[in-house]
Symmetry: C2
Subunit: 373 residues, 2 copies
């Protein structure tokens, strides 16, 4: 069967002697980025100067947001690119609990730290309780205001069933906020179709936006008029350049903007997104499952290794292995140009990005790992 | 008298046929930026990939913060570069009023909108009152918790006396948060010496960091252990990579970090700051006052023009003119390659950046303005 993604590796600037399996932490650079950034600095900033704000910069958060929307099942006008994931989590949770008469925020107990920290902070600010719970048994109640969930667990790679869990949450009248950091660019996501309340995600993992590139926030049309959060920066104003004394939020998704958008990074991300043009996420998903299954098969019987990523399709595009000497092993892998990462205390993570990783990458990585053990 | 800044214009990538007088909104690009950004994208990201986080990226917010610290009178370990000005204002104000038993937040009544919006939001969240007041008569009380002030007014260019006002605020036992957006890179600032409580500022105006480049936040040593704010993102944690379930803030200024730092923009700013190496801010100030005085003298008697920038030294490096047809006039100036900006309803702003603007710029701009009137 021909690989419909055989051509995409060439779109990335990656050395052949490196096996890069850390796209779940920092995606590889698409070739288009370097040139685009030069144009932004030398031409747009250097030649057009302040005029560029009226020549595409100002609307970049919404325009680039719409491009991400296509990858997560969100129609136009519902996604903005802005700030960091942590800041967007704060906006989303504060908006979700505003005016609620319910008593608790639920977060998955194995959550990426920032989600838990921000949820705790929102709980303290608003007087709600925070209850960490296992995703397979959330124990939702009619007192649950909002549930914050990582679509793919950063440590194990476990994937939650977004349709099923969203329905569970809605069944008790609560809202769900999905963190898509480890699933955007991994598999087809249908935020609109599943009636998801809010979602956030980063763009520097499988979306390859660059180190610390700005994050995104999804606020569906029906939730926009009631989306109110405390980071009322001037660019979220209905008429920012009126410089009015009172804050009136934009009627649409732009109300989720805060400060002046960071243009160099935003347009680097914009260029990076070109690799998705014409790509079907179903193909990405099929290849990602095949790559990770192949790698798993090669390593699961190695001495001292325990695979903690689910074996069935309920997983993202990473394979996580547990080994008591994970830290030392990853250092040695990196010395041998096999780049994955280590999460304390004992987890080795290998991320497979179907746009640039190959079956040969899986084989080379597994061979070196075997040698080291 | 020789101009000690005669050599710095060459450090900028500016066309000779443009008179760029909008550095108070978006600074001009230092030449070093384009090349540095190429290195960040092609080498640091492309070749070193994830390894770059351990090769200088992670500490960039503090390292670049220290470079800005030198320009605002802040010793090392007290400034971080992160997020936008609006987000940093939120952190600063929330931290300033935490655990206070006082009743009000005071903001200068002509404040840049985002400061007022965020102050309002913080007041609503915390139950304090917000009182806008004229800076020359703040009417401070023993119920005042914090005062947020723009060092230089974005509209008129009026400069406040930081020493005098800080002392007034401290005299009633309140805290002061200074917004340095229009004064950083304009004149010598002495945050440490004046015992300022907190300060924020952007880096894309007179610091030339690029469109929407990340902002900075000053938290002096003595205030760090009590600096607590709700954006408890994982990178502000004492041991971020421990991925602990509970948030424990870093003991130092890093606790003011939130999400993953935006590296491309951060290192573009880092490169941009090179133009300040060896520059004495007293020279910058002297030349800025001379440039603006020269321009003022050339335009103040033009028909229909009212200068609203103070005539004495209590001003930043902009000259603001009022004219009923300000919008149309600025459009015509821009067509003739004189780039300033227009703030509604009737203000024309001309910013002078002593590192790249010349007396000839002032003369060319004044001549075209005269012709148009």
């Amino acid at each position: 069967m021909p690989d419909p993604l055989a051509h995409t590796r060439e779109l990335f600037d990656l050395d052949d002697d490196v096996v890069y399996l850390d796209g779940n932490s920092l995606g590889a650079p698409p070739r288009a980025v370097a040139e685009r950034v030069q144009d932004v600095v030398r031409h747009q900033w250097g030649r057009r100067l302040i005029r560029s704000w009226a020549e595409g910069w100002w609307e970049a958060p919404e325009r680039v947001g719409n491009r991400i929307g296509r990858l997560i099942g969100a129609g136009p006008g519902q996604v903005i690119v802005a700030d960091s994931t942590s800041v967007n989590l704060f906006k989303a949770l504060m908006a979700a609990v505003r005016n609620t008469d319910r008593a608790e925020i639920v977060v998955d107990e194995g959550t990426f730290p920032t989600d838990g920290y921000i949820a705790r902070s929102v709980a303290e600010l608003t007087g709600l309780a925070l209850r960490p719970a296992p995703p397979e048994d959330l124990d939702l109640r009619d007192t649950t205001a909002v549930v914050l969930l990582n679509h793919v667990d950063y440590r194990t790679g476990r994937l939650l069933d977004m349709a099923e869990v969203t329905e569970q949450v809605h069944a008790v009248g609560a809202k769900v906020v999905w963190d898509l950091c480890h699933s955007a660019g991994v598999l087809p996501i249908e935020l609109d179709a599943l009636n998801v309340d809010l979602a956030v995600g980063c763009t520097y993992k499988f979306l390859n936006g660059g180190p610390g590139s700005p994050a995104f926030l999804y606020v569906p049309k029906h939730a926009q008029s009631t989306f109110e959060q405390p980071l009322t920066g001037w660019t979220g104003h209905e008429v920012p350049f009126a410089m009015a004394a009172e804050y009136t939020p934009d009627p649409g998704v732009s109300r989720a903007r805060v400060g002046t958008p960071d243009i160099i990074s935003m347009l680097a991300l914009d260029a990076a997104l070109d690799v998705w043009d014409g790509v079907d996420l179903a193909d990405v998903r099929a290849k990602g499952l095949a790559l990770t299954a192949h790698f798993r098969g090669l390593v699961e019987d190695l001495p001292g290794i325990e695979v903690i990523t689910p074996a069935d399709d309920r997983r993202g595009h990473q394979v996580s292995l547990r080994h008591p000497e994970a830290g030392r092993i990853m250092d040695q892998l990196v010395e041998r140009q096999i780049l994955g990462d280590h999460r304390p205390p004992d987890v080795l993570r290998f991320g497979f990005a179907p746009l640039y990783n190959t079956f040969e990458d899986a084989e080379r990585a597994a061979a070196v790992l075997k040698e080291l053990l």
